[in-house]
């Protein structure tokens, strides 16, 4: 009798552990960073809130409380280069095609050469992030694989345009392929929203 009870309890235990892990452990994690230089922009906070909501809709586990305000590159690079389930990344900052930064000090610039890992979904929300070259998309390793993509801007973009685009992208993300979702959001914008995507454009963007 004792043996029987023990067996049943062990099976129950295993079942519970397995169920708990599958219910709570999301495969993909995301951390969203906002530049401390842009916290006074209402569009910055609007964009961050839309982006947080979108990543949640797509099934990503958000690290921290919604988004993280950053000034220095170290905590951002810590997240980027740490092993684990960090498969999605978002920044809202100033930048260019070859670097982005959370404070205007050249020592704090983040370059493609400092990025490593095999990322799933990356959104680089700064001017020219995916302009004439694909250095960042290559650095995040999203080109040439299924279910991986880097999204960003081909040209100069304003904080208002970013918020406007995200307000529409939030409602279509996950309902169609990433390319159509990006284009649909851009269609609705009164401002110039030069969105680009490098990687698997047929993917919906859902966490996996």
């Amino acid at each position: 009798m004792k043996k029987k009870i023990s067996k049943v309890l062990i099976i129950a235990l295993i079942l519970i552990v397995v169920l708990q892990i599958s219910s709570f452990a999301a495969t993909d994690q995301v951390k969203l960073f906002l530049s401390s230089e842009l916290t006074s922009s209402s569009y910055a906070t609007d964009t961050m809130n839309y982006a947080v909501s979108t990543f949640r809709t797509l099934g990503y586990n958000i690290i921290g409380s919604n988004y993280t305000v950053a000034s220095l590159k170290a905590p951002v690079l810590d997240y980027i280069n740490e092993s684990g389930n960090n498969y999605a990344f978002f920044n809202f900052s100033h930048g260019a095609s070859n670097a982005f930064w959370f404070m205007s000090d050249r020592a704090q610039y983040i370059f493609p050469s400092e990025v490593s890992g095999n990322w799933h979904l990356v959104f680089l929300n700064h001017c020219y992030s995916l302009a004439t070259n694909t250095q960042f998309a290559q650095a995040f390793n999203t080109i040439g694989y299924t279910n991986r993509a880097s999204l960003g801007w081909f040209d100069e973009v304003t904080d208002g345009a970013s918020a406007e685009w995200w307000s529409y992208f939030k409602n279509v993300a996950g309902t169609t392929n990433l390319r159509s979702a990006c284009l649909a959001a851009a269609d609705n914008c009164a401002r110039y929203t030069p969105i680009r995507i490098y990687g698997d454009t047929t993917w919906t963007g859902h966490a996996w």
Binding site: Q20, F24, S53, S104, N125, N188, R191, R196
Partner: protein, 299 residues
Amino acid sequence: MNKKILIISLCIILLVIVGSSIVFADFHISETKENLALKNSISIEESYVQVNTRSINAKENIQLAEYYLTTFNLTDKKFNANETTIAVFNNNLESLTETVISNSDMIVKLNSETGDLISYINNKTTFEKNTLSKAIVRERALEIFKNIENEGKYELILLEQFDDEIYQAKFCKKYGEYVNPGELISFSFAPQTLEVVTFARKSVPFANNEIKISESQARTIAEEYFDKSSKYSMSISLEIVQPNAGAAEPLENNFVYQKATQTRLAYVCKFNNSSATKLYIDSTTGQVIGMDIILGGAF
């Protein structure tokens, strides 16, 4: 003895449940619902809310969607009633109610009140690569546009290559020498086959407000808005703009600003500073009705 084992085992199970929940649960900080009275702001959850569709006439909506798809020549695909999903959303950001009709091929959004087509998305993932010159692509964009609108009051304001398969085109309604970015017809398409990938039509009306303040008054207002000591040069032009929250205070977590329901004529003051700040000053009232900054920087 059996009872003891049972109690200990139950305690272990409880501990495992609580422990694993703590380890794996994604804790979200509960948002305080204070400050809800912030003008023109709304929580993300309230911005786009699905509503009950019990009373909706599916057949009527499918017919209406197909009317637009055929008339505008957007696709020759059809909605099969058995494989079609219909949902209704309150778009509280834009003060609209949207009926979303979808199947595996496409998504169509209609204005639930007026029946107007809001948007179309083709779920197809690959198209023929474009080999045509930009001049021919432009002609093809105009050809698609003529199927949608023949009023002649719209102007092509953007034609841009997205990738090697797709171009984007954007048309805005003209009011004399000004274009209203709120009334736009926008689509992306595969020029090679004339297939429409995405389409959207927006109808934010122009208030047609008068010009009551002069350019020099607008310049003074813009200079006073910022620190007078910062002597950045500025260029100034009259444009129709959608008033926005760019000059408003940032909102707390989870809240966003609602969108203006009409556009207005404004002086757009472009500062020659590092953020290329644009300040919108209403041409009638002289009020600051919006602001934008770029997300670039010197590199």
